[in-house]
């Protein structure tokens, strides 16, 4: 049985209590994009400033949610700030691979590695690996990333 310490790693609680990049950016020039988790009512608002090449020059987060969705958003913001579109795309795929790999196996399968995950260092984000043992919480962890992907798509459209 997975224990609470698998889910609530210290670094997650730290990002939850001291969220990074919390706030808003002026729109325009920033793009404002909202994400919802219809299951629990969590909502996240991202403010994205893009550089000339479409990379994320600056990011702010507002909204409300559980410790997993809030800390995941905080970690994501730290990981993607100042990164190019290509780098963010790799990070996103690596993170989602980490989140979805166990989705069908539900419990255990700790040794399984993402099959087509890019070889990227996830850093702090690794702490969220334990979330996959709590399948109903995976959507909490991926909310910020899905919202970011939506923002990048809107910006490039």
């Amino acid at each position: 049985m997975p224990g609470l310490e698998d889910l609530y790693r210290e670094i997650i609680l730290d990002h939850y209590r001291n969220p990074r990049n919390r706030g808003e950016l002026e729109t325009p020039p920033a793009l404002r994009v909202e994400g919802f988790n219809p299951l629990c009512g969590d909502e996240i608002v991202l403010y994205l400033d893009f550089d000339a090449n479409g990379g994320v020059a600056d990011i702010r987060i507002s909204g409300q949610g559980c410790s997993i969705s809030q800390s995941s958003a905080s970690m994501m913001s730290a990981a993607v700030k100042g990164k190019s579109v290509a780098e963010i795309d790799e990070l996103t795929r690596a993170f989602k691979a980490m989140m979805s790999i166990h989705e069908n196996t539900l419990e255990g399968a700790e040794t399984a590695e993402p099959i087509d995950a890019p070889d990227v260092k996830l850093g702090d984000l690794e702490a969220l690996r334990g979330v996959v043992k709590f399948p109903v919480r995976i959507k909490c962890a991926t909310l910020a990333w899905n919202t970011l992907a939506q923002g990048i798509e809107e910006a490039s459209a």
Binding site: M1, Y8, C40, G41, D42, Q64, G65, S67, I68
Partner: protein, 415 residues
């Protein structure tokens, strides 16, 4: 405050519910999510099992013996439901998939036949999505107007402007009891006001019918919707009570077998009530299960269940406030007489998801989320709540377990 006497023995009651003897994470389960769905007593499980083992056959078709038995068993269940809610006739008891389908049946059946652009439907701020979205669909389709009864600071309906809201309205559709706040609404006052204004009244009885004696005639409602699975019955079965005169005048909802008297190449004529609204093979085992649930509830006594829940509500509120003081905020009316056993709460500023996750490790099952009442959540200024809800099989040991687990939750997140 006087302590109410609880007529129900928790230990004996729990023994009738097989699921309540299981363990979760190595601890005995503490089930506090009956507002979402209730557990099922042996009597209900046996009735459904017996149907499949001994009389499984389609109803209202075969002339052989087991088909007649199945048909009889199903219609006995309908009569049990009729008497349980005090309806005049079995023709007024329509079986649906769930309460959501029952409310959609009224909106799509009565609504589309009787409402035109600009007609007013009055709802309240505490409605479940099932009593909001079907009307939004008619806003989009027909162009009706929605008005909303506001709430007071304790989460009760604020009826000061009720007559104004109902002025010119065609429909009043409100819940008898909030699935978030636990508020029990003054249904008779509401239906009287609707009738005076010339509006029909629809009552969402999902949270009230399982927990207190219901008489649809005394309520004065034109339609009442409720679900089987919240009243010790199975999933997949709901009920729409409708006044016969209104049901007769309504066009059918779904078309198919069972609901017809005659089908020709150029058209069809509908069957009699209630089958006119029951297209296709019905959920026979579920209907029989619901009938068994009604018999079981009658055996316990609905007044005993209500008295039990008042006593448990007093205990819950005083225990949680006593142990946690300002750390906990329980939404809804503070008086147990004005509310049912549904406790949405905020605790230590923690997100409900995080609370319910830790509670689960202590085998305590509560709901976390918006409870399909997002407009109410917005009004309360919160995204979600944790919600504990009790029923006939809960007792003070469950509430003590909840409080202990909340204690552990607070400790975990402040480390």
């Amino acid at each position: 405050m006087a302590v109410s006497v609880d007529p129900i023995d928790g230990t004996a009651m729990k023994a009738q519910f097989p699921l309540l003897s299981r363990e979760v994470h190595g601890k005995p389960i503490v089930y506090l999510d009956s507002a979402a769905t209730s557990q099922k007593p042996i009597a209900v499980l046996d009735a459904m099992d017996d149907y499949y083992r001994t009389i499984n056959s389609n109803v209202h078709r075969g002339v052989y013996m087991i088909a007649e038995e199945a048909t009889n068993r199903m219609e006995i269940a309908r009569a049990l439901v009729r008497d349980f809610i005090g309806a005049r006739s079995s023709s007024e008891i329509i079986f649906t998939k769930n309460a959501t389908e029952a409310l959609n049946l009224v909106a799509q059946g009565w609504g589309r036949a009787n409402l035109v652009a600009g007609d007013v439907v009055v709802l309240s701020h505490m409605e479940h999505h099932a009593n909001i979205v079907p009307w939004h669909m008619l806003v989009a389709e027909i162009g009706i107007e929605l008005r909303w009864i506001p709430l007071d600071s304790e989460g009760r309906l604020d009826l000061t402007e009720l007559d104004t809201l109902l002025n010119g309205a065609k429909v009043l559709s409100v819940t008898a009891m909030s699935n978030v706040l636990g508020t029990m609404n003054p249904v008779r006052t509401l239906t009287d006001a609707a009738r005076k204004a010339g509006a029909i009244s629809i009552i969402d009885g999902c949270q009230s019918v399982p927990h207190s004696a219901t008489n649809v005639q005394e309520l004065g409602a034109d339609f009442v919707a409720f679900s089987g699975h919240k009243m010790c019955g199975p999933t997949g079965i709901g009920v729409l009570y409708g006044r016969e005169e209104l049901l007769e005048a309504m066009p059918p909802f779904l078309g198919g077998g069972e609901m017809i008297r005659d089908v020709r190449l150029d058209g069809f004529t509908t069957n009699d009530l209630p089958w006119k609204f029951e297209a296709g093979t019905p959920p026979i085992a579920e209907i029989i299960g619901l009938g068994a649930a009604v018999e079981w509830l009658n055996g316990v006594g609905m007044d005993n269940i209500r008295a039990h829940e008042i006593a448990l509500t007093e205990y819950t509120i005083s225990t949680l406030h006593g142990r946690f003081g300002d750390r906990i905020r329980i939404h809804g009316p503070s008086s147990p007489a004005e509310r049912g056993g549904v406790f949405s709460f905020d605790f230590d500023g923690l997100h409900p998801h995080d609370i319910s996750q830790v509670l689960d490790q202590h085998a305590v099952c509560v709901r976390a989320g918006h409870h399909c009442a997002k407009p109410l959540m917005k009004l309360l200024g919160i995204g979600a709540t944790a919600r504990a809800s009790v029923y006939v099989y809960n007792d003070t040991t469950d509430i003590d377990a909840l409080a202990d687990a909340l204690d552990a939750t607070g400790a975990f997140f402040t480390l």
